[in-house]
Symmetry: D2
Subunit: 388 residues, 4 copies
């Protein structure tokens, strides 16, 4: 029987549900070197957090995250709350000797992210690890993309083309949720979904963004307050009071990478008809690849070595040889959104057991944060080229 | 707190893993009127079944399915073993007053399926229910297809076009597993995957197949024995002893439905490059729809009412309004293969709690079995038209 | 300056326009060994045929096809009239020493097709050639498919899957045109579009259909008469008199090939939403290919030699190395429907200049005709297996 | 019989072949109010231009474009030569009272374009018209896109997403052709293909770009000289002498439109695997549309009015009701690249006959030129925001 890894999680909304599923499911499909135990869930409202704990499978609940960190029977803190709380919680947890899994974006500012990274470095020296939850890295098709680039299959990279297109704010009466409040979320489409494609692009391409030129836009300046939150979009109304949207609806930027590639990035929640089009295309001198989360089990791969009969191959990334998929179903039996969270748990637990740094580290996430900051700076300065 | 529903499952291979995940997961995302408890898992080998029980989350294990049925703390028997055992187990369980969930195809012969249906009818009179596991019905996009047909959107149906294309037997050295042994599996591609498209076609179209004309083919007559089973395909070898393949590699048939529609069906494991292409297209006089499991979160819908600007719409069947999906993730965050099993549990538990017949009933599955038999009869009689 | 090849064409509807374009265009993009001259166009109505000749680019017109054949300044007769006239015209032309290009299907019966083939054989001995217009063979992507099969890339073929899906008869008030009158057209969807996929399947696969089992259906038994003909569908009306539809609306059949492959074929004009889905998929033991005319510039090719990263490649069949395309535009600048007719002219003129038999010969077309007859026979005899 | 419109064309490479085809073909499929006559072709080499005239269907040839303009029997000058010659020829022709069709981009500088526009305005006052050859406007699917936006179907536009991706320069040994010489072509990917998406975006969206922020890149600085030109790419060699590439390989920019929309544009010849991916997506508040030239007969249209069952519709833009397509083939029988040129001739001839300004006018093309200049200026000034 493996030793257990006792987990305490903070927050139980969308991300909390996804993380809970991952903790429950990982040991059922993968052989883990440590047995995760879902020890405690923390939230502010005692009744709601207790109900959530029962529903999601946690053994107990806490109403103060500080108390969770103090518990001796908790080894790892899983942070699923808005970005404004990340730094305080993560640093406290690391200082208390708890491993940390923190949702992305790492923080609401570069400064916070730097402090978190420093705390993570200090903790690492004591065998305590921190990881940031850029879960899309663990989507099998994107992991396969990373492997192909690493293998040298693409040759020198010329172009990176990344989009994260959603449409849930197109309706002008969609309500003002925390995601539209800069003090809580840090930014809008940029940090929420732009961060994902920045991380994915740098990780898959194996290079770093060195500078950006950006524009940002808020199409709808005011939205109804007080609507119940349902899914991402919530339910608002056109007649009630409105409050200001303080974040961006869309962020667009061009970029250069340290290997000479150029890139285009676009994050928006106003691309009507695109529901979760997290897309990445990379063109190399020898081969290209393309991914779209709306068809998440496929990776498109073009290999010029195929000669005149080259063409983008639709690889179903569900073969036993592909990352993670051998532990699930036969080929062609697709996985879903939440599987990436399960794989995140698998890799995190494996790294902790092996005494290795899980990835993305806080330092990796800080690199994303610096790009986010450069985008905001450029957008605020006539799109001037801004180095990262 | 809801009353519990104590489940005993038999078999723990591919289907056992999928069903276990469903029992574990359903109460985490859906509000169930009864709380499923994973009471016991049955298998022949004591060590392997005990290990599987631990891995998959069952409280205990049994080495004789009869013993499982005898247990007072078991309310429902979930049958995940090859088809040759379905009839005996299901009938015994129903007679013992246990609800039954039985994998498809219902049986290896119409005779067995009739006996099972009779047992289910008798049990139903006592408030005990039986359901057959045609899980694809609970894939949201296919459920949405069913809703669209039921709403009258398609008008009179002209064509049904169904394919289930896999390729895992293309390699002549793929090993001789139980799925290729008629005494265990009943048939090959016909019962394994053909059954799924027959059920899906009749269910979505809302009509019944009245006759068929068929051909069946076994391309590779002998295969290596003794290979370890891995995934669906297993690992064989070209040098060892070989044994006869006693089932069909492919089954193709034309069909007529009781509403005047005509159909074409094809099931094969030799469609190289098609991994799990479970496809259904229905053309009505007013609208059409098309589905392919390789892109399982989409339903294509063509509505002639859109006029000259009609075109097949790629509906992402992940909206809150769509079947099942509101309980999962935001729109565009796709589900995977196993979610259909979770939905199957949700609907089964709901039906039992409400004292309603869950669907597909054994009688529904018997209708599929009769089509399978007609296909085999026609293929054995010069493709002559054979009524169902 | 090349010698000229003087062409006389009969008929100037849909096919006449396509053929005229081909005769006009072929010498502009290809170097032809003979210079086609558009000498005369024949039709029944003097005014309409004269106007058509001017519009389509013919030097003169005739009102009797017999007169066209008698003209010394005509070397080749291009037959673009309904099938009931093919045999008489083609045989007369061949006997008069004129080369013949005859639209498909070759004839309205096997008997006629045999007579035509005999006339073609006799003419060939005198250096006079006959060709049947299965134009889809000259769509570059399908020609590339043929090359791939011939190269051995696919290995032994297991499955042929062919569909020709249109929807222009879905409307019950579409008018009764000549295509729905068996005495003129010979059959409905079977001969009109089914013939295309039968020819394409046998040609690309490089094998012959040996037997079939079929069903045919006429969904709408009566249609309005007297509507003006517009496009394929015409304009009818719901209130006027109606006449009987004497041909099939849909033809579906299974087939076996002489190399052991099995096939499924479906031709219909009731597949709502499918406009011109002429599709062919072939699964071999080593590779597969798939084509859909609705995306006519692409060929999908799956090569198992690509290993775990295999996937259907979308080859844009517009490379200089691909059949015909080097004479047109740069890669990715797609061709259209009519280009196949231009390529047909190129190959026909080349064969005549070289004293070689152009393909498909009448004998090739007779093989298709025999399949059509077998399909009708099987459909009329309880779908019984019918050898070709 | 219609009056004739006598055409003289200059240049006979790729564009010359496309324009010749259009002049030959337009009157065969469309009823034109003036009958185009292909009077003369001009080029520098007497033998080659004479041979080209014969091949392409021109009645005579000239070796000096000035002589062509002087001819009384020429009514319209069609300019198919590199951009450095556009201004001089077009202005001379207009001043001589000849209508002008000029290939895009209009000129190699804003200054030239302004002079040309002034000349066009002056000529227009005398009933002489000038048009710029942004042919993609006449691709039926893009024309349909324009109609949909004009109808108000999209509502306020939020996003424009335009790409023109090719890959024919990925090979470092592709030769140094005139397209890579700034003195002849003006710019690289920016003017050649970027101009197309700028024009298409502004035209379809019905709004103007007000400012841009850009980066441009030349990945391969030197290329082999003296290679034979084949297709777009030519045939070079790795051993011979090399010369400098003086244009951009890729141009990327963000943009704002005068209606509040934001845009992303990318033009490159290094997107390996993308052959002619001229793409445009527009997201409105009510509907969205998307186009990709690699599937040129389709327009994707998302209408939020379709409710929860909304999805991008794949409209086959080949219906009789769609722009231009009723004059060609039945629905689903796709058109090719060159058809847009034929449609351009149809519209140009119609406008001249009606005494109306054909579009795009030189003034429209000047608007594109100003955007090109702003992109270059921004790219040369740290990507700073540059107003148009």
């Amino acid at each position: 029987m493996s030793e257990s890894l006792n987990v305490g999680m903070i927050g139980y909304a969308f991300m909390g549900a996804a993380h809970s599923h991952a903790w429950r499911t990982a040991p059922r499909f993968f052989d883990l070197p440590l047995a995760p135990r879902m020890t405690a869930l923390a939230g502010r409202d005692p009744e709601r957090v207790a109900a959530a704990a029962t529903k999601l499978g946690w053994d107990s609940s806490e109403t103060d995250w500080r108390r969770l960190i103090e518990r001796d029977d908790v080894d790892l803190i899983d942070i699923c709350v808005p970005g404004n709380l990340h730094a305080e919680i993560a640093i406290a947890a690391l200082e208390a000797g708890k491993h940390v899994l923190c949702e992305k974006p790492l923080a609401n500012s570069v400064e916070e992210a730097e402090q978190m990274t420093a705390a993570a470095e200090a903790a690492k020296a004591k065998g305590v690890y921190a990881m940031c939850g850029f879960s899309y890295r663990r989507t099998p098709a994107l992991s396969l993309a990373k492997q192909l680039v690493e293998s040298g299959a693409l040759g020198p990279i010329r172009h990176v083309r990344a989009q994260y297109l959603q449409d849930w704010l197109t309706d002008e009466n969609a309500p003002l949720t925390w995601r539209l409040d800069k003090s809580l979320s840090g930014s809008g489409s940029l940090g929420d979904i732009g961060a994902h494609i920045i991380d994915a692009a740098q990780w898959v391409a194996g290079s770093s963004i060195t500078g950006v030129s950006a524009i940002m836009e808020t199409f709808v300046k005011e939205r109804p307050v007080g609507g119940d939150f349902v899914g991402l979009g919530g339910v608002g109304g056109s007649d009630g009071p409105k409050g200001p949207v303080t974040v961006d609806d869309a962020a667009l930027f061009t970029a250069r990478f340290d290997d000479g590639a150029v890139g285009v990035f676009e994050a928006t929640r106003f691309a009507l008809g695109r529901k979760n089009a997290m897309r990445l295309e990379i063109n190399g001198a020898k081969a290209s690849l393309a991914f779209d989360f709306e068809d998440m089990n496929s990776l498109w791969f073009y290999d010029s070595a195929d000669g005149p009969n080259s063409g983008f191959r639709k690889i179903q990334a569900t073969e036993p040889e592909h990352p993670y998929t051998g532990n699930w179903w036969p080929v062609g039996h697709g996985l879903g959104y939440e599987h990436a969270f399960t794989h995140q748990v698998v890799d995190l637990v494996g790294a902790i057991a092996n005494g290795e740094q899980p990835t993305p580290s806080f330092a990796d996430a800080l690199r994303v944060q610096r790009v986010l900051a450069a985008v905001e700076a450029s957008a605020g300065d006539e799109s001037r080229w801004t180095t990262v």
